[in-house]
Amino acid sequence: MTKSNEQWGSRVGLILAMAGNAVGLGNFLRFPVKAVQNGGGAFIIPYLVCFLLMGIPLLWIEWSMGRFGGRFGHHSTPFIMARMDPRRSFWKYVGVFGIFTNIGVAAYYCYIESWTLSYMLHSINRSFAGLNQIQVAEFFNRYVDLSESTLGLPFESLFFYIVCLGLNTFILSKGLSGVEKVAKIGMPLLILFGFFLAIRGLTLGTSGATPEVPDASAWAGLNFLWTPQPESLYNPRVWLEAAGQIFFTLSVGMGTVHCYASYLNKRDDIALNSVSAGFTNEFVEVVLGSSIVIPIAAGYLGMDWVLQNAGFGMAFQTMPFLFEKWGPVLAVVGGVMWFGLLFFAGITSSLAMGTPWMGFMHDEFGWSRQKAAWSFGAITLLMGLPTVIFFNYGVFDEYDNWAGTFSLVIFALLEVILFSWVFGIDKGWKELNTGADIRIPGVYKYVLVYVTPVLLLFVFAGSVVKPLNNDWQGAFYSLASGEGWPLDNNSLIRLIGNAGLKESIELAPAGEREYLEKKLFFTNLARGLLLVLFIFIAFLVRKAYYRNHRPDSPFEIKDTP
């Protein structure tokens, strides 16, 4: 094994890098939409409960595991997990998830990141000036279609993807100092841009109403977002959605937190650092995330439109059109700030995704930082090209489903079991409290053992048997009345066999059938690629084990006294 001499430059830099890892596009696009869909102001109650009972404990677990593994020279999850339970050899393969998900997610995440980079340039270039709402939406469709170009550049979206991935790789090749520098510049800028847009959203009022949309009002958006609907608290869907949002917003279950924390010293604080990073993410999500997209969209297009169209696409297909209503100067400023904010949110997360692979290759195979970083870029490019080229055939969604959703939940569930039950809560609690700058309430010892795993189990079960249209109450009634459990096409059970897609193919007219059959082919291709990636990493882990970690290996780093 090769020992790493890398360290974080400062404590604030570490917290900002961790917060940057957590703050992503979902803070601005997923959270407000989930809040609107799940009871407005009432959603915040289960959301904050889940943050305290699942989010914070998961952060503590991952930070503890990371710092523990770092003591033995491990900076990625396969051998961090193996070290926590040396008697069972399978943990190192569970840890494969902590590298696999990062490459799988980075492959498509960098593509979204490249859209923000490109749209920032388009905002400066005033590409959206004079376009109506439909034309702005079509602009995006043209942008992701490789046969068309919005700037005159051939393969424009591919070009920006490669530029973006190259930028990530270059920064990663500078090591932790590069990541820390980006976090120290990017996070304050992100918050500054967020403040500007949030103030605009909060003060827009009814000034955006037009004869076509006379009832447009930002207040209506804020009312909908924040008026508590107490009855929604009795709906299991709302709790599951809140738990899911907390889980995905904190970037837990990925292996990035372990990697960052593994560069800490044995007696460095993790208890306070992790809570600070977690709350920074919550600040960005709750304070800024809720004050931008929904109120601005409701302020110009009305709440009815928002309710029908709220979703990820609004960021690229709607917001540029709305910024144009601010006049030529503010349209540029608004566009640069909005897409700049998303770019910084994205790059601070995608940089984190590169570090577990780099840590693993350096620790186990002695690769230099540069070699590890550029190999990450090359694998991510190979994995990402199908998401760019076959974007319209569902490759992107498939990566998101398997690498970006299910893998995370499975890995988080297993790591909680390892930490609280196998490694043991007493040892885990001691690890967590070593060097702590805050006193963690004793009740959390029980939360870590019982509550967090149960909540994760619910999130996992919820994704396996997700009912039709996410209507849990309706599904329970249906089950009680003997009509069975109606499964949604996005439930794991139906997704695994492509049941929804196959049904659509059977029902589709001839012209559309050809497209759907192609989509089925590329869906399976995406799964195959992900499987090959997982097996490849598992093979490297096995090779590293025989090379460095057998009991008689001369390369093993012993525990520090």
Binding site: M1, T2, K3, R11, L222, W226, E282, F283, G366, I557
Partner: protein
């Protein structure tokens, strides 16, 4: 904007902001451990095999 939504929004935002500020204040006030033992030799360096 109706008063219930306004109260809910302000209360939530204030609680989240206050907690974030409080924890950052604690971070900035906390003693710096790292530099105390960074200069000391790391026991793991002894008997360490480099590849």
């Amino acid at each position: 904007m109706n008063s219930t939504a306004l109260v809910m929004m302000l209360a939530t935002m204030m609680v989240v902001t206050a907690c974030t500020a409080y924890f950052f204040y604690k971070v900035l006030k906390a003693p710096v451990h790292r530099h105390e033992h960074k200069s000391l030799p790391d026991p793991a360096d002894f008997g360490q095999h480099e590849m």
